[in-house]
């Protein structure tokens, strides 16, 4: 039991915690960079913040999923570990609306494309990562008949592609105006 717990900590908890801490830390660094007057340190803050944010909030699901897969993490464990940082990032974006709009208006934002963007990217990455993992596994095993597409993992890829297309078709204008129409219908 202790060994299993330790394995979960090593293969999932530590990577996802690192992504979570990185998401918070690099977001803070980037956001505070405006106040850094020295041009050199301003550049350092901006670019470390940006690169760190992109890695932790947007690229981490790909890395964590692949890492978990090859370290023996189960499907559910891999999904939870991969999605933690993107979900946190979405919540951080959402939190900037608290205190400005009503609870109902904030709840509607749960389907706003900018709020959901980190999660949608994560879905795409999980889908792609699973294909990569199964391809590597297939190559290693030498089993030509082994599958690389599995239904439960493909669902993430399909949902990711569908949402990405809906959200960002015509640079997001289509969905944005649909969202606004919905808002006006609901809240006048």
């Amino acid at each position: 039991m202790q060994r299993v717990t330790k394995e979960i900590i090593n293969r999932s908890l530590i990577p996802s915690s690192a992504a979570v801490i990185g998401t918070v830390l690099f977001t803070l660094i980037y956001n505070r960079s405006v106040a850094v007057g020295n041009p050199f340190w301003n550049d350092v803050a901006v670019w470390s913040g940006l690169i760190g944010m992109i890695l932790c909030s947007f690229i981490s699901p790909l890395i964590i999923y692949i890492f978990g897969f090859f370290k023996g993490a189960g499907f559910g464990e891999r999904i939870i570990a991969s999605l933690t940082a993107p979900v946190l990032k979405s919540f951080m974006i959402l939190s900037s609306f608290f205190g400005i709009f009503s609870v109902g208006e904030v709840l509607l934002l749960l389907i706003h494309h900018c709020i959901l963007a980190p999660v949608v990217f994560a879905f795409l990455e999980i889908g792609l990562a699973s294909i990569v993992c199964h391809s590597v596994k297939k190559k290693r095993s030498g089993d030509a008949a082994a599958r690389i597409l599995f239904r439960r993992e493909s669902v993430f890829l399909l949902i990711g592609i569908a949402l990405f297309t809906i959200f960002f078709w015509r640079l997001g204008h289509f969905y944005y105006f649909w969202f606004l129409d919905l808002y006006i219908k609901l809240f006048g």
Binding site: Y30, N31, M53, S96, F101
Partner: protein
Amino acid sequence: MNIRQFMVSAVILFSTATAAFTQSAEKKAEDERIKPRPNIIFILADDHRWDAFGCMNHPFIDTPNLDALAEGGILFSNSFCTTSLCSPSRASFLTGEYPHIHGVTTNHTIWDEEQNTSFLEILHDNGYETAFIGKWHMPGEGVPEVDGIDRFITFTAQGGQGVYENCPLIIDGAEEERPGKYITEDLTDFALEFIEKERSQPFCLYLSHKAAHFGFLPPKHLRGTFDDTDLQLPQEADPLLTITRDNLFVGAPAPLPFLYQRYCETILSLDEQVGRIIESLKESGMDENTLVIYAGDNGHYFGEHGLYDKRSAYEESIRIPFFAWGPGIIDNPGRRVDDMLLNIDLAPTLLDLVGLPVPENMQGVSVLPILQDRPMTTRSAWLYEHFPVYPIPIPGITAVRTDRYIYITYQNNKKRPEIFDLLEDPGQYHNLYGTPEGDELLPMLRSELERVKAETGYIDTF
């Protein structure tokens, strides 16, 4: 010559001089009486920053035609909008009222035709032929029924924002495709047609451009003008800030330098098209009896304070360009005026210019005395207001801007209040709130904020 002859001569001379003076004064009065009422052309640009002009020492934007307006007329160097957002500011220009009075508080709130009277309607009711050409951009189903506009050309594409190329127009109620047309030029063509039309009465033209709003698409011949130019973006600007922080909700999915370059190139087209209008006025001789005003609806950030877009109360957002030009109307042209002018001053000024009383509901002041080089001061402080716009996480704002300071407060204290000494810190980098200097200023600024709120009938709604 004896004394008697001298006295007779003196009396004759005095009488002749008096008669001549009286005749001259009468003639002047008669000339004034028979002088036709002035024509008015108001050109409103969209998001055109106050400093994006050659005459404002912009490092690379060259605007010879707009500069000529400013340098041959009056450049109001401290002009502001009371709300830095398209629809509220547009309604303020039209009505002379604050957004909390005319009701167009956001880009989603509808222009209430029953409640609001525009200066166009008043001019129309007093014998002016009026035209509104261009961006209306106040929400509602389709094109609104607006009183007092004889020629109404607008567009509804992209929620009323329009598009730069091939933008369908609604011409006096009928939609028309405009294939191959670039919008700034197309609208100017209609404006020239209206200006050059034969008529017996004076006219008022409200030419409301889409440029230089987001979309930032210059005409083909200007694209790439600044390809090799150092854009000199602010130090705190990074290329991706258009999709980071809260800019994500107001930004554009493109790097900041690309957007800024296109913005600057789009402004060049505005300059070209304004040049066509001025040339037409000069050729026809109408320049002697036409007042042209060029203004912007609000400012725009391109990286200052890490921001993009507008809305908040920093100078880059709230300052607007405002030039008045009219060789036969403006006395002592070529002046720069430092008095604080607001978008709500347009309507009362125009009504005053044509000799109409300014309705009591108008909250702006007429700056006609300034146009006529007579002494006046506009105001010592004024209220800035911003109402939250869904789905953008910028809180409601009330601020008081004096000739030296700005004190900014935020809805539910979402952000710490801010005090800036604009004389010492024009870039607004050092918030004095909570510092000994700020503590000293705070009572005065709080009191000023409450005063301008009370004076304008502002009621806290958030």
